[in-house]
Every structure is written in structure tokens, then in C-alpha cells.
């Protein structure tokens, strides 16, 4: 299978990053760009917030993939809701008959409380299934929000350490193997060209690779201030504006150099949007940028 440059060489690509770095937008753009490289793509959100499916124009997407109106023949979109996935899983494993009554009495909460991470594990199981059902598709996953990405990836290991036997342990074992199989899964990290996001990127990257053995694809650096090409204007507000962007670009350049020194991974640059712009137009812009960018 021909792989694109800007996502990693695996079937499932988990796009992860801290809150506010534009992870969902980058996931959507990567899905479109991958499709435009001639691949079939399945874009999946796993936190139930609906951000990715709305951005890709399928607000009603559920666990079954639906075609994305932006690329109807090559991109489909699915959403895995953690709670639904858990009740489905339990129903599939013999707890279905008691299910109705036990769900009303809060069994799901109890199982989730007794086994922290079980929701994440079940979500990961669904992802694995989706990848197996769609072997010809690249599966691009918008990972859980905020700091949960690392916890999400750690879940199978943590659960293996906690439970002894039972189907969940089997699931966890499969999850560990899936994440460690570099042909099947990898993680693409998104960051901003700023000090704290770069610090967090480096920490997360080392934790993912060293601690979990999960493959890392190229880093995508979002919202880079484009360089100014004109000389500074002579008027006062013009100079202030010029200085601001110049200083910001210089501060960002320092962070990018530091990132390259501390993290030996290829990376792609996406620039900051200039003004009010339709979200879908912006998405198409970003998808084009990803395709035309060369990794650094």
C-alpha cells in the first residue's frame, strides 16, 4: 500500500496533542489530504464530542462509517462514543440479557469505576475492529482531548497490570500488541511553535516511544506565523504590527530549532490563518498545505 508522507507508515494513524493545538482540524485535513493522494480513508473520532464529524460535514455519523460530503467516494467518517461502545461490548459478552436492568441500576458505572480505563480499552478494541473490517483504508483517529492521549495509549498496559484474567485482560493484551505493531498503528503528534507546547510534545513523544513502544509518525506543527516579506512600514501602527509579527516569528523559530534538537522526528509546518475564513475553505487550504509541504 502506498503511504503518504505526512501520515505515518501504518494503517491506523492516531492524531494526538494537547488541547488547543488544533488536533481535530489537523485530523480532518490529514484525512482529506490522504484521500487526495489516492487512498481510501476512514476518519474516526473517539471522544463523542462531535467536533471531527461536524468539521467533515457528517454531524450524524455514528459507529457505522458514513460517506464524507467533502470527499464522498474516498473519505468516510465514524464516531465511537465511549459509553455506547462499552455497553455494546458488555452486551456482546454475555451481559446483554441482564443488560437492561443492570444498566438502569448503574452497572456500567460500576464496571467503569472498578476497572478504570475500560472505556478507553473498548474504544481501542472498536478501532482495531474497524481497521480489520476496512483493510484497504487508512484510519485516521482524532485522539481523546487534552492530556488524555497518553492515558488512552497507556490504558491496555495499565489494565494488564490491574486485572488478572477474564476477557478484559485478553482485550488489553490485543490492545498492547496492536499499539506496538508499527504496521498497524502509529501516532502523529500535533503541536504549536511555542515553548510550553514544544516541551509537552517532547515529553509525550519520549513517553510514547520509549515507554509504550508505539511508533511515531511525523510531527505536525500548527499555526506557524508566516514570515513577512515587506520592509517595515513608516507609520506608527504599521510599525507596531510589523514588529509584533517579526517578534512572534523569531520566538517561534527559536522553539522550532529547539524542537528539532530535542526530538529527532520529521515535521510538517502548517501556517496560521490570516483572517475570518469559512471552516471548510480553511480545511481544504490545510489539506493542500499538507500535500505540498516537504517534511523538515
Amino acid at each position: 500500500m502506498n503511504r503518504t508522507q505526512f501520515v505515518a507508515a501504518s494503517q491506523v494513524v492516531i492524531v494526538a496533542g494537547k488541547g488547543g493545538v488544533g488536533k481535530t482540524t489537523v485530523s480532518a485535513a490529514a484525512a482529506l489530504a490522504t484521500a487526495d493522494e489516492g487512498q481510501e480513508v476512514l476518519a474516526v473520532e473517539v471522544d463523542g464530542t462531535g467536533a471531527l464529524r461536524r468539521l467533515l460535514g457528517c454531524p450524524d455519523a455514528g459507529q457505522e462509517p458514513v460517506p464524507c460530503p467533502l470527499r464522498p467516494t474516498s473519505v468516510s467518517v465514524a464516531s465511537i462514543d465511549p459509553s455506547t461502545a462499552l455497553s455494546r461490548y458488555l452486551a456482546d459478552h454475555g451481559l446483554g440479557r441482564l443488560g437492561g436492568r443492570l444498566a438502569r441500576t448503574g452497572m456500567l458505572d460500576l464496571v467503569a469505576t472498578a476497572t478504570p480505563g475500560i472505556r478507553d480499552l473498548v474504544v481501542l478494541g472498536r478501532l482495531r475492529q474497524m481497521a480489520e473490517h476496512h483493510p484497504d483504508k487508512i484510519v485516521i483517529v482524532d485522539a481523546p482531548a487534552a492530556g488524555h492521549a497518553l492515558a488512552f495509549l497507556r490504558t491496555p498496559r495499565d489494565i494488564l497490570d490491574t486485572v488478572d484474567g477474564g476477557r478484559i485482560a485478553d482485550q488489553a493484551q490485543l490492545g498492547v500488541e496492536f499499539l506496538a505493531d508499527h504496521d498497524r498503528s502509529s501516532v502523529t503528534l500535533v503541536t504549536l511553535p511555542q515553548e510550553t507546547p514544544v516541551n509537552e510534545l517532547v515529553e509525550t513523544a519520549f513517553a510514547i516511544e520509549d515507554e509504550l513502544g508505539v511508533a511515531l509518525g511525523p510531527v505536525i506543527v500548527n499555526s506557524i506565523e508566516p514570515p513577512l516579506t515587506e520592509p517595515p512600514p513608516v507609520d506608527e501602527p504599521g510599525r507596531a504590527a510589523h514588529d509584533f509579527f517579526k517578534q512572534r516569528a523569531a520566538a517561534e523559530a527559536v522553539q522550532l530549532v529547539r524542537m528539532e534538537t530535542e526530538l529527532p522526528l520529521p515535521w510538517f509546518a502548517l501556517t496560521r490563518a490570516d483572517g475570518p475564513i469559512d471552516r471548510q475553505l480553511r480545511l481544504e487550504q490545510l489539506a493542500r498545505s499538507l500535500r505540498s509541504a516537504n517534511s523538515k
Binding site: 458488555l90 472498578a114 487534552a146 483572517g275
Partner: protein, 366 residues
């Protein structure tokens, strides 16, 4: 509660009666920096303020200009001649939970058994969404620590709902759960049917998650029963504190359409819980130099105008929401805020407001 003064510049100044400040918002908006600046500004006015973060990353230490890491034990960072003090600490889930168990356990043996329980250990490693609850618990603890008269809590990022405010209730709801009652045998006196159902349940759950975990769960909930009264009281006390006029809620957003939408969602969620944001801080706003609107066209001016236009458009729903609360905007610095200079910049804007007429509001905040 803070009120926005008529005509006075908007500010997020903390009233003397305020004992706790909760900063809420989505990720990436600079919530930690704003929390640090609120505490630092209060310390300058003579308050003994402590700022606590739940974020295990070094963000708060960076924002406060602390070289190393902060620990769960508050560290004094600054002292002022007017008696004001600035302290910082970082939440350690294990330490907070252990303290909670120790203070509510009827005897040492129960506390020890709890600490050794595998479910408990797993719950306290931060995996299971207990951070929201812990942040609240830490807030309560620090609010009753005589060293401090103001506690600023940098809450975990909330994506859509206000998990943090619901957290105490969520934990106590567990006790009302019938399955919990079955497992702990609370209903065992009622009918034998319950114990049969419980056995069947335990067996089925065991087939899925392993038998050991069920035993641990039964032990965990059994031990928890001894702590229940204490937890309930604490949850009620925290709820009372948060809705009292001793608490101030500061919502932090950035001038982007998606974060403004999340902020509005948070505000609605707050209001249904009898809480209102007392101030809204819009962080990371592009600078607006005087005369920008009429300046001759150039690459930099055109770019800045477009950015400003984009921000105004993103901000419009927040203005239209007509909160009757101060909306304070903080211009972004070209670089990162990670030293005293940057912190002072945020402090200055928190207490005086943005110097220009932001978003065409002209100082009128109704």
C-alpha cells in the same frame, strides 16, 4: 460576587470577601497563566494567596517562573511588605486521595486496607477521571488552611460540561447505586433474591473483567462504606462553598470561534448549577495599536486587521450573550509567558483591562 462597575474599566479583580477562585475553560487558552496571574495580583494587594494546578505538566511552574517543579505541598514563592504572599502547589492525586482516606477512615486498619486495595490504587493514578473530584477536594482543604486566605484553583480543562462542579455529586451518587448496595450487602437483609442476584452479577462481571478485580471491587466498596459519611459531608460542604459569595468563577477563553462556543457551553452549564462566571477573560488577543483601522495598507497592517476582524467575529456570540459580567481581554505577547515579566503583563491587564476599546464595547459591560 464581583460586579462590573458602570463605566469603570473591566477587571478581574478579586473582592476582599472572595476566598476561593475557580478558573475554568477549555485547553490551550492559557488558563494556568491566568490562574497564576490572579493569585500573584492578589498577593500584591496583601492577600496570602495559593494557586494550585492539577496539570502534571510544568505549566504552572513555568508561568510562575519557578525553576524546578512544584510539589503537592505548597511552596512560598513571593512575599510582599504589605503581608501579601504568593504560594504555589501541584496536585498529586495519590497524596490527596490518601489524605482523604486518612481523614475519613474510622480506624487505621481501614485506611491501610484501602490504600492497599488494587482498585483504590488504580483510581488514584489519575487514569479514571478522578482529577475533577480531587481538584475540588484540594480546594476545600486549602480553603481551610490557616496559611492562606485565598485559594486559586486551575481546574482541569473541561471540554463541554463542567465536570468539576459535578464531581462531588458524582462520587456520592455511587452510594445510591443499587449495584453498589448489592455488592456491599446493604440490602442483604431485605430478601434472599438480592444476594442471589448479587452472586450472579458478580460471576458475570468476573467473566468479563477477571475474578480478582471483582473481589477487589467488593472489598473496595465495602471499605468505602466506612468512609461514606465523611465523603457525603465533604461533598455537601464543597457544594455550599462553591455556590456561596466566597467563591468566584473566572472563565478563560481565547478569541476563536470554537473556544468561544465551548465557553458559552460552559457558561450555560454553570448557570444550571447556580453558578455564574464572575468574570470572563479572553486571553491571547492580537494587539490593537492605535490607528490600526486607518493606517496605510501594508503586509503587516493588512494581516493584523484580518486577525482582529476574525477575533471580533469569533467574540461576537460572547458579547451578544450579554452576561452582565466583565469581559477582560489580554493581548498576546509575541513570545511565551514563562517569566515574571510575562506574568506581570497578564496581571496588569487582568486588573486594568485592555487599554483600547475592545470589541467595540467602549467600557459598557451590560
Amino acid at each position: 460576587m464581583m460586579d462590573s462597575g458602570q463605566g469603570s474599566p473591566p477587571s478581574a479583580e478579586i473582592a476582599a470577601s472572595t476566598k476561593v477562585v475557580l478558573t475554568v475553560g477549555t485547553g490551550g487558552v492559557g488558563k494556568t497563566t491566568v490562574s497564576a496571574a490572579l493569585a500573584s495580583a492578589a498577593a500584591r494587594t496583601g492577600r496570602r494567596a495559593v494557586v494550585v494546578t492539577v496539570d502534571p505538566a510544568r505549566r504552572l511552574a513555568d508561568a510562575l517562573g519557578v525553576a524546578g517543579e512544584l510539589s503537592s505541598e505548597p511552596t512560598k514563592l513571593a512575599e510582599h511588605s504589605n503581608g501579601g504572599e504568593l504560594w504555589g502547589s501541584m496536585l498529586d492525586p495519590r497524596v490527596t486521595f490518601d489524605r482523604l482516606v486518612d481523614s475519613h477512615a474510622p480506624d487505621a486498619a481501614t485506611a491501610v486496607a484501602m490504600r492497599q486495595n488494587r482498585i483504590y490504587r488504580n483510581m488514584t493514578n489519575g487514569l479514571s477521571g478522578t482529577q475533577d473530584y480531587l481538584a475540588i477536594e484540594e480546594l476545600y482543604w486549602l480553603a481551610h488552611d490557616d496559611r492562606f486566605d485565598l485559594v486559586v484553583v486551575d481546574t482541569p480543562p473541561s471540554q463541554t460540561a463542567l465536570d468539576i462542579v459535578d464531581a462531588p455529586g458524582r462520587l456520592t451518587r455511587l452510594f445510591d447505586n443499587r449495584i453498589y448496595q448489592l455488592l456491599t450487602g446493604r440490602r442483604s437483609g431485605a430478601t434472599r433474591l438480592f444476594s442471589r442476584a448479587a452472586q450472579r452479577f458478580v460471576k458475570m462481571v468476573g467473566a468479563v473483567v477477571g475474578a480478582g478485580i471483582v473481589d477487589d471491587a467488593v472489598e473496595f466498596f465495602g471499605l468505602f462504606e466506612d468512609l461514606e459519611a465523611g465523603f457525603r459531608d465533604r461533598a455537601a460542604a464543597v457544594g455550599e462553598l462553591l455556590t456561596s459569595d466566597k467563591a468566584m468563577v473566572v472563565l478563560v477563553a481565547s478569541p476563536r470561534a470554537d473556544t468561544v462556543a465551548s465557553a458559552l457551553g460552559l457558561i450555560r452549564a454553570l448557570i444550571t448549577r447556580q453558578l455564574r462566571p464572575d468574570a470572563v477573560v479572553v486571553n491571547l488577543v492580537h494587539p490593537r495599536p492605535d490607528g490600526l483601522a486607518t493606517a496605510p495598507s501594508s503586509e503587516a497592517v493588512d494581516r493584523l486587521r484580518k486577525r482582529v476582524e476574525s477575533e471580533d467575529k469569533a467574540m461576537a456570540p460572547l458579547i451578544e450573550a450579554n452576561l452582565g459580567r466583565a469581559i477582560v481581554s489580554i493581548p498576546t505577547l509575541p513570545g511565551d509567558i514563562h517569566d515574571q515579566e510575562g506574568l506581570k503583563h497578564v496581571e496588569r491587564h487582568l486588573t486594568t483591562g485592555f487599554p483600547n476599546d475592545m470589541f467595540g464595547l467602549d467600557g459598557a459591560w451590560r
